[in-house]
Symmetry: none
Subunit: 83 residues, 2 copies
DNA sequence: GAGAATTTGTACGTATGTATG
DNA sequence: ACATACATACGTACAAATTCT
């Protein structure tokens, strides 16, 4: 699953969170790396910004990423010691 | 329509794009001329910068203007040969 | 060349409204 | 009523490019 599927009954933000989580777990998005911007993900998946933000907030709640206002969202890793 | 109208149900960025397009078509903003800065338009119309940028991006998509980072947005004309 | 000011570029934070299931 | 999803529109902050002093 590399892109969200509008025909899939699973909520788009859930699908997108799953996709991003997989990219992190697989190492495609390594610790300390910058997660694609909301604007980029919005265009890449053809969803609204609100949907992208909901997906990212799920990962944030899971402690997988950290978001810095005006900078972006970064992948957290054990070598980041929770930071 | 010289200023955007917050009571008008038409989106502010659409209204502003319409106004600027008219200024270009009428010759008030001739080819090669500098379109007022985002900051100026923002104050002139009482809208946010993001709204101004959305309006200008419409004109850019229509090929009416060209934006140069750090310089400004310029009106395109036939004598500019698409540049 | 240095430094300030201007202007556009990027990115996130928040609020509200609309529509649908 | 609630969840999902999109659109509009405000704001903040900083970076990058250019221009001016």
């Amino acid at each position: 699953m590399s892109h969200v599927d509008h025909m899939n009954p699973i909520p788009l933000y859930t699908q997108l969170a799953d996709i991003l989580r997989e990219r992190i777990k697989s190492g495609e998005l390594p610790p300390r790396s910058l997660v694609p911007s909301e604007s980029y993900l919005q265009q890449e998946h053809g969803v609204s910004r609100g949907t992208v933000r909901m997906a990212i907030s799920i990962l944030r709640d899971e402690g997988l990423v950290v978001t810095i206002s005006g900078r972006g969202t970064f992948v957290k890793g054990r070598d980041l010691k929770g930071k």
